[in-house]
């Protein structure tokens, strides 16, 4: 019997404006039987989503299938017209989109969007469609189903919206579901529950799933088999256990080596680091060492007491309430250590950093002291300059953290030049030296930010922070926007710099595994409160608090016997 879905030697190209074309997918093949879950995994730009869209006939007008076929249950669908595709979409193939908040039409009610899909794809009409919609919501574990039907998407959480998208996708009991990064936009605890629902629905109805993801943990949890994709090419295909446990190809091995584990701390990720020991790099390191005081172990560099922050949510009436982003948080950062701050979105972890750095004003009563002096007292211009020299930040989003109208070199040095810490003449050479310190070529100094990749920009951001020779660097999810292999490179770089220079780091992340790799101590945040504090290995291995335990349990783990 023919497989449910067969993709044979598929190639897809995007037509560029000037008549040229760029191949997005080359010679990709996949066979999927009923009731099985196949993962397609790859990093950004690998072309994973393109395959999903091709199966549904949703490629943009500038994309062309240049060769190969897609067969659904024996019928070749590659050359289907829009009308023919419309007849199988929703009925035979369901679709689950990456961002549930944007997948639903903001101006139509949930009920209308569910019922129109039911009426389009099943024989149910009117009241019967409505009753069925309620049934579907219940099976997708949506509470208060009746009430949800009259709501609009923006009134519901991301997790709920994704469950509604699930309900729509399974409405006509399709044979196949394309799930494109179904949980990327969600927190880990929500992700776990949502994935469990998806898996149960697929099992119950014998639906095959093509699961597109960048996350090996999700693949391990969900998939029977997996295809590894790199720049549009199929690198490796096999059972999940084989590909993850004993990868055959070099690319897959590197990919696996770059994935941080929450259970095991490694000194460095096993990825290729290219630091040529050039004179420029040596000069840059010497410059940094000359200004950064060597860490004196055990001394509290930064102390935070009673830190609260309330955001105005409703104009003038904020006094009566408002959103409490931080609630009485206190901790210390010791010289030379890396303190991790972990928590889900909305836990207040980034707000802590912004308050320490003086980018937002904390509520009255907060005590933040740097080297024993309260920051609130450091108001004079000299003090402020000294403070901004001592406290620096590496930001989360590499695409918005560099001034797009300044060259990389100027981005690195404008601050220290403006403060008179270095002459304009020296700044150019220093910028080039620092670029070498963070592993970029000297020539990069003259290029504008848009010419760099995300990882390269993050390196420039690190160089900018280092240029001040700060005592403490606040790292605000520095790798969360990056691919896992790039993340490994950046984390290696940061570890290397910390060891060479004796930096003190505060490292904010939602990813417990990354925190495990980087940090000596951690604090766990939840809804603005500090839940747990302690040594990283202790907290992440034997957590005392229930919430920390839940977080750890929700992490998609790759735990194979004898893996690696």
């Amino acid at each position: 019997m023919a497989p449910l879905l067969a993709i044979e030697n598929l190639s897809i190209a995007y037509m560029l404006g000037d008549g040229r074309s760029a191949e997005a997918i080359s010679d990709f093949s996949l066979r999927l039987e009923r009731g099985r879950i196949a993962g397609i995994v790859g990093q950004s730009g690998a072309g994973k989503s393109t395959i999903g869209k091709a199966i549904l006939g949703l490629l943009g007008e500038n994309a062309r299938i240049t060769s190969g076929t897609i067969t659904l249950d024996g019928t070749v669908i590659t050359r289907f017209s829009e009308g023919e595709f419309a007849a199988i979409r929703g009925k035979r193939i369901g679709y689950i989109y990456q961002n549930p908040m944007t997948a639903l039409n903001p101006v139509l009610s949930i009920g209308e969007q569910m019922i129109e899909a039911i009426e389009a794809n099943t024989a149910r009409r009117g009241e019967a469609a409505r009753t069925y919609a309620l049934e579907l919501l219940k099976s997708a574990e949506v509470s208060h189903a009746e009430e949800r039907l009259s709501k609009y998407p923006h009134q519901l959480s991301g997790g709920l919206c994704q469950r509604i998208v699930f309900a729509i996708a399974i409405a006509a009991q399709p044979d196949l579901i394309i799930a494109d990064e179904p949980t990327t936009a969600l927190d880990v605890t929500v992700q776990k529950a949502v994935l469990a629902t998806l898996k149960r629905l697929a099992c119950e109805q014998q639906i095959a799933i093509v699961l597109i993801t960048h996350d090996m943990g999700v693949v391990f949890q969900m998939c029977d088999e997996v295809s590894v994709l790199c720049r549009g090419r199929l690198v490796e295909h096999g059972s999940t256990a084989q590909v993850i446990g004993a990868p055959r190809e070099r690319y897959t091995k590197d990919l696996m080596a770059a994935i941080p584990s929450v259970d095991l701390k490694r000194d460095r990720f096993d990825v290729l680091d290219s630091f040529a020991n050039t004179p420029g790099r040596r000069r840059g390191i010497a410059f940094l060492k000359s200004g950064i005081a060597a860490a004196r172990g055990g001394e509290a560099l930064l102390t935070v007491n009673g830190l609260s922050k309330t955001f105005d949510t409703r104009g003038r009436r904020a006094a009566s309430g408002g959103f409490r982003a931080l609630d009485d948080v206190g901790f210390e950062v010791f010289a030379g250590e890396t303190l991790g701050i972990v928590g889900e979105s909305g836990s207040g972890k980034s707000t802590i950093g912004r308050a320490i750095l003086g980018l937002i004003e904390p509520d009255a009563g907060a005590g933040i002291a740097f080297q024993g002096r309260p920051i609130a007292d450091m108001r004079s211009r000299r003090d402020r300059i000294a403070l901004s020299r001592s406290l620096q930040c590496i930001f989360q989003d590499p695409y918005s953290s560099l001034n797009p109208r300044m060259s990389a070199g100027t981005n690195i040095t404008y601050g220290i030049v403006a403060q008179g810490l270095i002459s304009r003449a020296h700044a150019k050479v220093l910028a080039e030296d620092l670029l070498e310190v963070v592993g970029l070529p000297r020539q990069a100094a003259g290029r504008m930010p848009h010419a760099f990749s995300g990882g390269e920009r993050q390196r420039i951001g690190i160089a900018r922070a280092l240029a001040f020779r700060p005592e403490l660097i606040f790292c605000d999810e520095p790798t969360s926007a990056l691919d896992v292999t790039v993340q490994a490179e950046i984390l290696n770089l940061m570890k290397e710099l910390q060891e060479t220079l004796g930096l003190t780091l505060v490292f904010v992340s939602h990813d417990l595994a990354v925190v495990r790799q980087m940090c000596d101590r951690v604090i766990v945040m939840r809804a603005g409160r500090l839940v747990e504090e302690g040594r990283a290995d202790q907290v992440l291995t034997y957590p005392r608090e229930t919430y920390t335990r839940e977080l750890l349990a929700a992490m998609p783990r790759i735990a194979l016997e004898g893996a690696r």
Partner: protein
Amino acid sequence: MTNFILRRLGQSLILLIIMSVIVFAGMYVISDPVAVMAGEDATDADREALARSFGLDQPLPIQYLTFLGNIARGDFGTSFVYGRPVLPLILERLPATLEVVLLAVVVGLLVGIPLGIYSGLNRRKVPTKIISLGTTVGYSIPNFWQALLFILIFAVWLRVLPASGRGPTTELFGIGWSILNAEGFRYVILPAANLSVALICMQTRLARSGTQEVMYQDYMMFARAKGIARPRLIGRHLLRNILIPIVTITGLELGTLIAFSTVTETVFSWPGIGKLLLDSIYRSDRPVVVAYMILITLMFVLINLVADILYAVLDPRIRYA
């Protein structure tokens, strides 16, 4: 929602007060109304008597309050030219303006939205390019010159439509309307067409850019992915989204249209409030100008308020914010 309306009402009130100060200052303070009324050969005694009889010898704040008080009672004074109370003078010309403006809006929406959606959906097709060029040309022809061309072509050369004036009217609710009358309708065509050209261009562009934007949204792709057929995709998902800005902006543009009708009415000698305004400006009939400005501000304030509320009602993201 109630808060929102109250806040908007407060802002509207401020706008009205500011407008009344500007108009008052412009009309009664900067230039000397006594000199205007008394004429060149009046003696000082004449002037004083005149000033006293109009209350112009009082301190300015008192004069302003009197001015406000009179307006509140609907007393805008008496026209110098017509010798009649100003308010009824303006109100009896309002229907003429309204029928032209409303006809232009209906035509603009009915023509503009389909053209816009078509060109938004079919970016590379030839009709789209023609529509696009057409809107640019339409935008580029100043309203008044276009009116002259209409007269030249349809009235002077082709002699098919009347060049000026308002034809016979038919009574409805005690008000005469030209559009209800076959002969009268011939008179409405040119002024309404003149006003609607810019409006068609605007609606086409709004609908086009809205369509282009909405078609790229994730939810449109997801709607296709869940098997929604094209008619519903366009008629419900797309239209519902693009209508929100279109309805709002059209509401706001009503004010601009009434303002622009001054030009149209002047060229076509259409006896609406716009022509009355310009005639009054030429003849220095201050009470009429003042009343027009105050009334039109009031009208804008109401239109803006309704448009804002409409926007909030149409868009659930704001309704339930």
